[in-house]
């Protein structure tokens, strides 16, 4: 990959941009994706055609555009963020196409009409996501600009979050969860976009208020408790999360939002007591939800003993466990498993099971490693970046990916009760994919700012000698 020779020595620059590393890793990701597609073709259809080359060329071309834009507009961005996302996205596309093919074969053998595939649509959404990625990089040249619109993003996030709850059930409800807007054949999950808007708001708000929020009142059991009057924001976040749970019946988003807020509060103030308060509030909320809502009770019952419900509510999770068991250590090989016949949500919530069945524990852990790389690069950007807002935003974005992956994988492997969240970049679902591309664009932008060498200072800046200070807050 050329990382052995330090480009700085050759060019005299003090900090390498590492763009060539990124290009090499992207090409590597393309090779992996092409291999996956070729194996699926060979196993399912018995022959490998030239179309694999076309897929590979298309995939490489699309990510090359992204790479060139990063090269032009975020030269110093982290070299691993894009390749990790590209590989996750590519594997997702291959798996969805593979599930499409299996469904078509099933329909053919039982004489039913062949269902339209989801892969072309997912590919279209990937392109939309990449366009959004490019637009974010193009228009947001400095992530600190976002901090100025913190409250605007907050309001937008709340509105997006609330829309499905207000809309009539016929438009907004799918499988019991009211978190959609379904218009003219399209379904959009505004909550995915609300997540990012709210993350920006949290970061801007907490940077401005963290001095107050980290004031301590008294020590109890070694924890420095915050003052009572400062509990407001965390209570508001708690109530909003409970609102999502009550009005939209969406456990996953509710958990995700509250978790992100508490962790960002902790990162901003460095007070462990906020984590303790967050856990306490979470426990109270979970207990309340369990007492009040039957759909939460069912989730918990199924989690505790899925095989008792294997023909009704527990069917999905039981099939998921069986699939993972079939996969074992090394999996059945791509195209060799039967994830499609076992699980109707194999493309969305249970795509992790599909990976586990066909690639086994080794493959599943490999995919988790890709997420780990993405999250690690996010936290690294957060550590390196020189402004507090960027630090908090990058940490929040990285943590949100980590928490979402934990909730999904924990759910399908029965570590925690199952909640409906998408697996970022891999699952079928346009809103999630597009929103996550925006998230990655923000991470790339912040990592660029973090790694960019200090600009040489020529003439003194015009404001340097003036006596008045412009305070932004």
């Amino acid at each position: 990959m050329g990382e052995r020779t330090n480009p700085a020595l050759a060019t005299g620059r003090s900090i390498p941009t590492r763009r060539n590393t990124e290009l090499a890793m992207l090409l590597f990701a393309t090779v992996v994706v092409m291999a996956a597609q070729a194996i699926v073709d060979a196993t399912v259809r018995g022959s490998v055609g030239l179309n694999v080359l076309w897929y590979g060329a298309g995939f490489a071309g699309v990510w090359l555009v992204a790479h060139l834009v990063v090269r032009r507009f975020a030269r110093y961005a982290d070299p691993l963020i894009l390749p990790a996302v590209a590989l996750l996205n590519g594997l997702g596309l291959v798996l969805i196409a593979r599930l499409d093919a299996a469904a078509a074969l099933d329909a053919e053998s039982s004489g039913e009409p062949i269902p339209g595939g989801d892969a072309p649509l997912q590919l279209a959404w990937t392109l939309v996501g990449l366009v959004l990625f490019l637009l974010v990089l193009l228009f947001i040249r400095d992530h600190r600009v976002l901090a100025r619109y913190g409250y605007t993003f907050g309001a937008a996030g709340l509105v997006l979050l609330a829309i499905p709850a207000v809309l009539p059930t016929s438009i907004s409800e799918v499988n019991g969860a009211k978190l959609w807007i379904r218009v003219a054949g399209f379904s959009i999950q505004p909550g995915e976009f609300a997540k990012i808007a709210l993350l920006i708001f949290f970061a801007a708000y907490l940077v401005a208020k963290r001095d107050v929020l980290s004031l301590a009142s008294r020590r109890v059991l070694g924890l420095e408790l915050p003052r009572g009057q400062d509990l407001g924001p965390v209570l508001v976040a708690w109530l909003a999360s409970l609102g999502v749970l009550v009005f939209e019946k969406d456990l996953g988003s509710s958990l995700l939002l509250f978790g992100i807020f508490v962790v960002m509060l902790y990162i901003a103030t460095e007070r462990v007591s906020w984590l303790a308060i967050g856990l306490l509030l979470f426990s109270a909320g979970a207990f309340l939800a369990y007492q009040l809502f039957t759909h939460v009770q069912i989730r918990v019952k199924v989690w505790l003993d899925p095989f008792a419900f294997r023909n009704d509510e527990g069917f999905q999770i039981v099939q998921s466990l069986l699939g993972l068991g079939t996969g074992g250590m090394f999996g059945t090989g791509l195209g060799g498993g039967r994830p499609d016949s076992l699980n109707i949500y194999a493309k969305t919530d249970f795509i992790i099971t599909t990976i586990g069945e066909e690639l086994g524990l080794f493959g599943l852990v490999g995919v988790l490693m890709l997420y780990l790389i993405l999250v690690e690069r996010g936290f690294r950007a957060s550590l390196l970046v020189r402004d507090a807002f960027g630090k908090l935003l990058a940490a929040g974005l990285a943590f949100s990916v980590a928490l979402q992956v934990f909730v999904v994988v924990g759910g399908v492997t029965r570590l925690i009760p199952l909640t409906g969240l998408t697996t970022p970049f891999v699952s079928y679902g346009g809103s999630s994919l597009v929103a996550n591309f925006a998230l990655v664009a923000l991470l790339v932008r912040i990592s660029d700012a973090a790694r960019r060498p200090a600009a040489p200072i020529g003439a003194p800046p015009p404001l340097a000698e003036t006596q008045t200070e412009v305070l932004s807050r």
Binding site: M1, E3, R4, N6, A8, L9, G12, S14, I15, R18, T21, M25, F28, A29, V31, V32, A35, I39, A42, T43, R45, G46, P79, L80, P83, A84, L87, R144, D211, F330, G331, T332, G333, L334, G336, L359, F362, G363, G366, M369, L370, I373, E376, R380, L383, L384, V385, R386, D387, A388, K391, P453, A454, A455, P456, I457, P461, L463, A464, E469
Partner: protein, 158 residues
């Protein structure tokens, strides 16, 4: 459909490919962590072979290479030093942007002269401290000495 041996080869081959990608990624991470400074690439022969490219940018292996924030809200931030001066303050175009109520918008400047770093106060309200002493004029920063600006502490590391 396909011969069993081929299926098995695909099955393990793909896993190996996937993990090779992860291995390559971690090599990049490692290069990023340890390979950023030329110190690990044994600087002596390099200087002997290509002395022109160095242009006195660094005085051998012992000059400071990084500015590390060791206290205050930006703790953990590292900035790789070149020859450009480093501006510290609350102004948005500073190299180190502080969000510290005790810092001025243009608080202090760190400059490089022949490989040595000097700190200089830019007329801040609350002053810049090198170790315990308030900085008045440009002062040489000894290795490991903390520079205090408001609640923020900076150190040079090699």
């Amino acid at each position: 459909m396909t011969a069993e041996i081929v299926v098995q080869a695909f099955r393990f081959g793909f896993l190996i490919l996937l993990w090779l990608f992860i291995y390559a990624a971690f090599r990049v991470v490692k290069a990023d962590l340890f390979g950023a400074g030329p110190a690990r690439v044994s600087p002596v022969p390099r200087r002997a072979s290509a002395p022109v490219k160095d242009k006195g940018r660094r005085k051998g292996p012992r000059g400071p290479r990084q500015l590390v924030v060791t206290g205050g809200s930006l703790t953990g931030t590292r900035i790789t030093l070149g020859t450009a001066p480093i501006l510290v303050g609350r102004a948005d175009d500073s190299t180190v942007v502080l969000t510290d109520d005790f810092a001025s918008s243009r608080h202090a400047r760190l400059t490089n002269r022949d490989g040595d770093w000097y700190v200089e106060d830019l007329g801040s309200t609350n002053g810049t401290y090198l170790d315990r002493a308030r900085v008045s004029g440009p002062t040489l920063i000894p290795p490991g000495a903390p520079i205090r600006i408001g609640k923020t502490v900076l150190e040079l590391r090699s």
